[in-house]
């Protein structure tokens, strides 16, 4: 059972039993399998194989791309006739990613819950008893893949908006002192997108949605149930805004404002410079909050996955 074992086995194994069948000779050791300890890189390779070899990845990310870019094209086309759209140049990209993020959440949950659902997790944890390594590899592979896919979708949408809507003349009442949030976005009387807006329409939402997907993965690891975890994540994303919608009484006003300000959808809207409440920043602060929440939930997932029976 020590390290040089396979070679020994090859040498000392008795000759294969007299022909039982043509294909089933010498089952265990066809050729000596080189032994080396498995590391984190192996886990990453394994998770990459897993995520690329199931159709749910193709479906969720494919639908996300189609939804984000498709809605981006439709809004740009619809707004093309207006001389003045009334929002920052790249802001129409929000509508697509608001829907598209649901696909990324779903994939995040499925990456881990499908293993629990099928029982594959037992084979995985038998092959790698260090369960935290598996969870880390899953998180890294999923985060990078969903970030790249979302960033591509958002960037294409931003380019479409810039190309189609880029010749808007800013109305006189928004020039000079009255410009407010459009102040930096006006050049020679025309609407432009600042560097901050470009980042807020490409990398920003991509990071936010990928992180939200990572939170979904952590929730999936905690709940181990696809439908339960997806529902939870949809609740997390949608409920604050829905609750706020019905808090119309004056006494609930502060609660309503906080719910809106900290809702996930407002974070995305802030990236596109069309926040739903006045107190909102430009999205990056919300990204920090989401990162903290994800870290906490992921920490819980690490703690539970290490000791829970599978």
């Amino acid at each position: 059972m020590s390290t040089p074992r396979p070679q020994q086995t090859e040498a000392s194994a008795p000759a294969p039993a007299p022909a039982d069948g043509p294909t089933h000779d010498n089952p265990g050791g066809l050729a000596p399998v080189p032994v080396r300890p498995a590391g984190f890189g192996d886990a990453l390779r394994s998770e990459w194989t897993k995520i690329r070899s199931v159709r749910s990845t193709l479906w969720t990310l494919g639908v996300m791309l189609i939804v984000v870019v498709g809605i981006g094209l439709l809004t740009a086309w619809g707004l093309n006739d207006s001389a003045w759209v009334g929002m920052p140049l790249l802001a129409p990209g929000l509508f697509g990613i608001m829907l598209g993020q649901v696909c990324v959440l779903t994939l995040g949950v499925l990456v881990i819950s499908s293993e629990y659902g099928t029982g594959m997790i037992r084979a995985t944890f038998t092959a790698c008893p260090r369960r935290s390594r598996v969870l880390t590899a899953k998180a890294v592979v999923f985060f990078l893949l969903s970030f790249v896919a979302t960033a591509v979708a958002c960037t294409v949408t931003a380019l479409v908006n810039w190309w189609v809507l880029g010749d808007q003349k800013v109305p006189p009442f928004l020039r000079g002192e009255a410009a407010g949030r459009f102040e930096d976005s006006v050049k020679d009387g025309r609407l432009i997108a600042t560097t901050g807006e470009w980042l807020g329409a490409t990398v920003g939402p991509a990071l936010y949605v990928a992180l939200l997907g990572l939170l979904a993965l952590a929730v999936g690891a905690l709940l181990r149930h696809s439908a339960g975890a997806v529902t939870t994540m949809l609740g997390v994303v949608l409920m604050p805004l829905l609750l706020a919608l019905f808090m119309q009484s004056a006494s609930l006003k502060p609660v309503q404002e906080k719910l809106i300000e900290y809702s996930a959808l407002n974070a995305l809207a802030s990236f596109y410079r069309i926040p739903m409440s006045d107190g909102s920043g430009n999205g990056w602060d919300m990204l920090g909050i989401l990162a903290a929440v994800t870290a906490v939930v992921l920490g819980g997932a690490y703690a539970l996955i290490a000791k829970r029976d599978v």
Partner: protein, 370 residues
């Protein structure tokens, strides 16, 4: 070597495994027998560190599974043939497990060849039959060329050719010096495959002994006696004479007797003295299946509401064909090269449908052929 000491697992109020201690040695096939729900799979999961025991511990080569250096290269396991992502192809399923264990990708196609799935390697495993799923699971267990192998119900869903193949595979792996631990709820299968038996019922150890010992201890012997058909006078005369001589006589549905308490020569003498001709006088052991059911019947969790033994017990005995020399046949664990086996050839059709005797007949016929 797998060693369990005082292994106990409770799920809430239900005790799945209770104070289980056993050893699984290398070089032989150890059968792990028990009815459904007796705790076999729970024990397997505890061996693999997937479930944490409530009390006690189980080690592989002295270490807990999760402390083993390079565990997937030392231990391979098939837990559940259906525990694969159905959307993934067989090759990708094995590839991701191989990569996770640091095993070269080339090994995947090797083990696919070993289990005979190379033709469907690119197919999604959703479309696989249970038998193909078992082969895929066995391939996964063999990936790391491990010294310790665990198989949970590996023959479920396999066709006869597949069962034969698994049986030979287990023996061959054990012959290579590996530790092979196979669970089953079929005594007949284990009698053919295993050298050593660990029997549990309701999570508790019922037996831990070699197959020969299990048979010797658990199968009561009896004689089957048959008088000429259509001669009720002789029949009754013999019954009376045998009872008088101290034997216990039971009638069997086909008109023969089952006699216990008298050795065969004595029965012959009594019959001769009573001037009764015999058409049959044969020694029998109760089948292993019967012994196993006798042992576990108090420990069966799930059974049909009708009399559980009625359908199972009687046909085994009555259907057993008269094979002379059966009792004398030792069950040598190495005595069966299944390649030489011709199922259905050596025994009369009466045995068909009775798993216990059939299994033993294979063994007998092999011995006769040797």
């Amino acid at each position: 070597m797998i060693e369990a000491v005082g292994l106990t697992k409770r799920y809430g109020a239900k005790t799945a495994v209770h104070n289980l201690s056993f050893r699984v040695r290398p070089g032989i096939v150890t059968g792990f027998l028990g009815p459904n729900g007796s705790g076999k799979s729970t024990t397997m999961r505890m061996i693999l560190g997937l479930d944490e025991p409530t009390h006690g511990h189980v080690t592989i080569g002295g270490l807990h599974f999760r402390q083993l250096a390079n565990a997937p290269r030392q231990v391979g396991a098939l837990l559940d043939a259906k525990a694969v992502h159905g959307g993934r192809s067989a090759r990708n399923h094995l590839l991701c497990l191989a990569q996770l264990s640091g095993i070269p990708a080339g090994r995947v196609d090797e083990v696919l060849g070993v289990v005979g799935l190379q033709g469907v390697a690119g197919k999604r495993s959703k479309s696989f039959s249970l038998g193909m799923g078992q082969r895929l699971g066995i391939a996964a267990a063999l990936l790391g060329d491990p010294q310790v192998l665990l198989f949970d119900e590996p023959v479920n869903g396999l066709d006869p050719e597949g069962i034969l193949w698994v049986r030979n595979l287990m023996k061959q792996l054990a012959a290579e010096g590996r530790t092979v631990f196979v669970s089953s709820h079929l005594m007949s299968e284990m009698a053919l495959t295993a050298d050593h038996l660990i029997v549990i019922g309701r999570g508790q150890l019922l037996a831990d002994m070699s197959v020969q010992e299990f048979i010797a201890r658990n199968s009561a012997s009896f004689a089957r006696v048959r008088t000429p058909d259509g001669n009720d006078g002789e029949r009754e005369k013999l019954t009376a004479a045998l009872t008088a001589a101290g034997g216990e006589v039971h009638s069997e549905p086909d008109g023969a007797f089952r006699v216990t308490g008298l050795p065969l020569p004595r029965i012959s003498d009594v019959a001769h003295a009573a001037q009764v001709r015999l058409w049959e006088l044969s020694p029998h052991h109760a089948s292993l299946e019967e012994a196993y059911m006798g042992m576990t019947q108090g420990a069966v969790d799930y059974r049909a509401t009708t009399d559980p033994r009625a359908g199972l017990h009687v046909p085994h005995v009555t259907g057993e064909p008269p094979t002379a020399g059966r009792a004398a046949t030792g069950l040598r664990p190495d005595a069966h090269r299944a390649g030489a086996q011709q199922p259905g050839q050596a025994h009369p059709p009466a045995a068909a449908g009775a798993p216990g005797p059939t299994a033993r007949d294979h063994r007998d016929s092999e011995d006769e052929q040797r």
